[in-house]
Point group: C2
Chain length 347, copies 2
């Protein structure tokens, strides 16, 4: 048995560059708990061979393919990081799994529970590793935040506020505005708000409701959503693709009975401050801990290391971002879309 994973990247776009940066970081020994020789930067596949070659040269991958099929058919590929837009994940994930490749698929893995089920079923059937690349599940800063909450520092969590709003000026060629590519704010940005709350509320079953989605060009441009967890925690969040956050950052606040935690850019958190109230009215507070967890590389290295470790030890489902968590996540988004009467063109 090999003691390294031959990684391939499918669709060398923006997010693939981020992952390639992380993979090169691991390769160069940036993560203490995984040695660089555990991963081999093996292949890149694009529908455009020139693009694949350029990416492979830039990030030190050995091979470049001008079609996904060539990647599927190369027996040397152990695992594939799938980085195309989410509307194409189903085809790519099934293609990889059918060819016996382990899969790390960008979030959301499926655009619906139905799509996700097809992926997890085939992964189980083929006994292959499959994981949605939900990088925040492995974020060191969020792990520290969870420790503070478990220690009771801010009391019982009452609610979680977060906002992930960007402004992308309308462009008919932008996938965000294309219903055929499952564009919209929810699957792209809202997913982070949902997952953040789910991590902190420990994934209890939830209800998800929203009354303020705004449709634009057939996609959801803006959402304001409340989620209720079984343990009484609620989260209120907004996500948008046509209006920015005022601050230009994407911050979250976790409110507890004894204090609160502010998280800067929560979807790529490296900084959080733990505040406790100084009086019973909570009108004054003090910061009792500044959590600072800079990334070893750029934040994508943790999920890649996790997947690599699981693949090398023959485990097929993550114990951190489990199938169940992917299911809870897409179920929440499916439920919201049902409320909005929003369907993708193929549904």
């Amino acid at each position: 048995m090999k003691n390294y994973v031959n990684w391939a990247i499918l669709a060398p776009g923006r997010i693939a560059n981020a992952m390639a940066t992380a993979m090169n970081g691991i390769k160069n020994g940036k993560l203490p708990n995984i040695s660089g020789d555990k991963i081999r930067l093996y292949a890149v596949a694009s529908r455009n061979l020139e693009r694949a070659k350029e990416f492979a040269d830039k990030w030190h991958f050995e091979k470049a393919y001008g079609s996904y099929e060539e990647l599927y058919n190369d027996p040397e590929v152990d695992a594939v990081y799938i980085a195309n837009p989410h509307a194409f994940h189903l085809d790519s994930v099934l293609g990889c799994l059918k060819s016996g490749k382990h899969v790390l698929c960008e979030k959301p893995a499926g655009c619906s529970r139905d799509q996700l089920n097809k992926m997890t079923s085939l992964a189980r059937e083929k006994n292959l590793f499959f994981m949605e690349a939900m990088w925040t599940a492995f974020n060191p800063c969020i792990r520290e935040i969870k420790k503070e909450i478990s220690a009771g520092t801010i009391g019982n969590i009452i609610n979680i506020d977060s906002r992930f709003c960007n402004r992308n000026p309308y462009d008919p060629n932008d996938r965000n505005y294309d219903p055929r590519q499952a564009g919209g704010a929810l699957l792209d940005l809202g997913i982070y708000n949902i997952y953040f709350a789910m991590m902190l509320a420990d994934f209890s079953p939830i209800t998800a409701e929203s009354s303020a989605v705004r449709m634009l060009k057939g996609v959801d441009a803006w959402n304001s959503v409340n989620l209720t967890f079984e343990n009484g925690i609620v989260t209120s969040f907004q996500d948008a693709m046509d209006v920015p956050s005022t601050t230009g950052t994407h911050d979250a606040v976790i409110y507890g009975t004894k204090g609160f935690i502010t998280v800067e850019n929560f979807f790529m958190a490296t900084k959080a401050d733990v505040h406790v109230y100084k009086n019973i009215w909570g009108s004054e507070n003090e910061v009792i801990r500044e959590i600072r967890e800079p990334f070893a590389v750029n934040g994508y290295e943790y999920e890649c290391a996790h997947a690599t470790e699981f693949i090398l030890t023959g485990r097929t489902e993550s114990d951190v971002h489990t199938f169940k968590k992917s299911e809870d996540l897409i179920d929440t988004m499916d439920a919201l879309r049902r409320d909005w009467g929003m369907k993708y063109p193929w549904e």
Copy 2:
């Protein structure tokens, strides 16, 4: 016909002190558009005569009554400012109107549309002035904000965010925690969030939904609400009586397509900053106007002057905070309570 109004205050508590401060300010010529001799600080009524006397002495009212009935029966009283907790408004408003007094009643006037209807019907029948004392309707800073919005400075309004959260530690004697006194966050604090959005969205009909109310001791302790207006504007707000805002302030943000307006302590606004985006992504902005509208006294003087002017000119319904607006406001709160399955003990 008298050219002044003999004002009385019913229930000399905290909010009555605020109004008495404002009335004294008008009396002393603090508002340029109303002369001090238009109002006479005539009487105060409490169920406790000593309390009424003390208040009358402090704020220069001429008479003090140890019962509301004495106030109703004094033919010299022209208008009454009703300042008791809202669960008692119905009795007090009807008592005043039956006795031929004009009424300015603290918000919310009725705890339900049914209660409000009884008040407006009797006011119409008796041809008396009646207004819910929704002070923010007369707030000079909010009026300036509306001008900026009408001028198109921030483009089309997309959404309005606000948060009015206080922490009142549990006290069984606190009216906020008493369902029999219609305690809870919505009628006390949420009402400001709703009205703020209604003012800016020009009172189009709305839908009101929430999935994250938390009940505590039989009252709504925390709400997260989305309102949708016919013109597409949405507002998302939170109000709470058991968890503070992180900042200790109660700020609102009005997001538009070209910029946004931040409002400090929106329920008593005197400061707002108008920001416009400096690029198409909205990632940078500049403040193009700092609205600064300090109160002449404490903010309560504007609604009092308005009521005084209307009473003196024989008009019975405000053209600023109309019956319709009070109705829209309570209808919204009734709809939310219905969603929550929340009834007051007398319902």
